[in-house]
Amino acid sequence: MRPPAPASPKLKLYSFWRSSCSQRVRIALNLKGLEYEYKPVNLLANEQSDPEFERLNPIKYVPALVDGDTVIADSFAILLYLEDMYPQHPLLPQDPQKRALNIQIASIVGSSIQPLQNYPNFIEEKLDSNKTIKWTQHHINRGFTALEKLLKGCNTTYATGNEIQLADVFLEPQIYGGVKRFGIDMSIYPVLARLHEAYMEHPAFLAALPEKQPDAPSS
């Protein structure tokens, strides 16, 4: 467990316990050893529409990061900001090809999988719950199939090497959510399954899990 944050840390993270985008940033903050104040935004109670939050992020998504008088929203933008401001435990390698692979993996998760798993919330009045879960599973499976091909032959501890990098920070919340919430069968994705086990041994990842957050339901 993380020690409690100091009285007024410079960094504040607006987060929802179950949001995989928020989870990415929580992992990165933990990896870089950064204390932060956790500011919960209850998406199920539409707190993202509160005027105070909308001022921070007009598209009303979590996460948003406040660093002193700087506000950054969008998990990818936040992570690259953290890379620049707090270079300890770098998440992007120097080599341009390895950097590109990390960003490609992050993008597959962030653009081709995660946004489509939220989609049914808008149209759930049109599709019954059986259909919405199949919709979500279809998109996760399509993305995981692509990731498994991209990572074919991976024999390093983590996705792109023996250190945790940006790709891992994006992969784990997606895999965790896929397993925990959407019943994805990981046995057909051996590389992703192996990576998931490795992440589940890492303290920075464990402390960032949805269930460990201050706003997670207690039961």
């Binding site: 950054i72 990818f76 590109a100 692979l101 490609q104 993008s107 962030g110 653009s111 946004p115 399509r142």
Partner: protein, 213 residues
């Protein structure tokens, strides 16, 4: 082995490909255009995940427009697309991600096609318009009071490279009324005066259908 010019696998109508074409043009990178159709069996050998666009640079293959463009940023320092200032850099990345995560994925064919079995094509069309509207309104708020030539300054940057194709698609494919988004409307007119953007438009690509067809 001599390294030839990079090869861009692209589809004329793909707004993701359009972004990369703009970036290559801005940086003055000479590239070979290879058109990809959705069911192209040979493409899988080049890029096992079959996404478009993909850039092949020597023996290195990278797909995903954001990964390709940031790779180009690393490799070609001319016409940088990300500012040094961290706040401005973050705004550029946020706008790029609003487009490529919150708007474009909803309009791509796979999504519409999957839905069409349960929803009428009209309903799918309206849902796409709703997401474009939500994203455009957010960007307008984010950039409220912007008085620079382009989204984040007087030079074209990453946000502009992502915005232009999304606005183009909104107008030409989804009947978006850009007068509701005055900043974006103003930027788009400015983009369309720049040759790097003009030659990258879908209609000018080698695989675009001939006009009148």
């Amino acid at each position: 082995m001599a390294v030839g010019k990079p090869v861009l696998y692209s589809a004329w109508i793909s707004s993701c490909s359009f972004r990369v074409r703009i970036a290559l043009n801005l940086k003055g990178v000479d590239y070979e255009y290879r058109a990809v159709t959705w069911n192209d069996p040979d493409y899988e050998k080049i890029n096992p995940i079959k996404y478009v666009p993909a850039l092949v640079d020597g023996d290195f293959v990278v797909s995903d427009s954001l990964a390709i463009i940031l790779y180009l940023e690393d490799k070609y320092s001319q016409h940088p697309l990300l500012p040094q200032d961290l706040k401005k850099k973050a705004i550029n990345l946020q706008i790029a991600n609003i487009v490529c995560s919150s708007i474009q994925p909803l309009q791509c064919y796979a999504v519409i096609g999957l839905l069409d079995g349960r929803l009428g094509s009209d309903e799918s069309f309206q849902i796409v318009r709703t997401y474009i509207d939500k994203g455009f309104r957010a960007i307008e708020k984010l950039l409220e009071g912007c008085d620079s030539k382009y989204a984040t300054g007087d030079e074209i940057q990453l946000a502009d490279v992502f915005l232009a194709p999304q606005i183009h698609a909104g107008m030409t494919r989804f009947q978006i009324d850009m007068s509701k988004y005055p900043l974006l409307e103003r930027f788009y007119k400015a983009y369309m005066e720049i040759p790097a953007f003009q030659v990258a438009v879908p209609e000018k690509q080698p695989d675009a259908p001939s006009p009148g067809v």
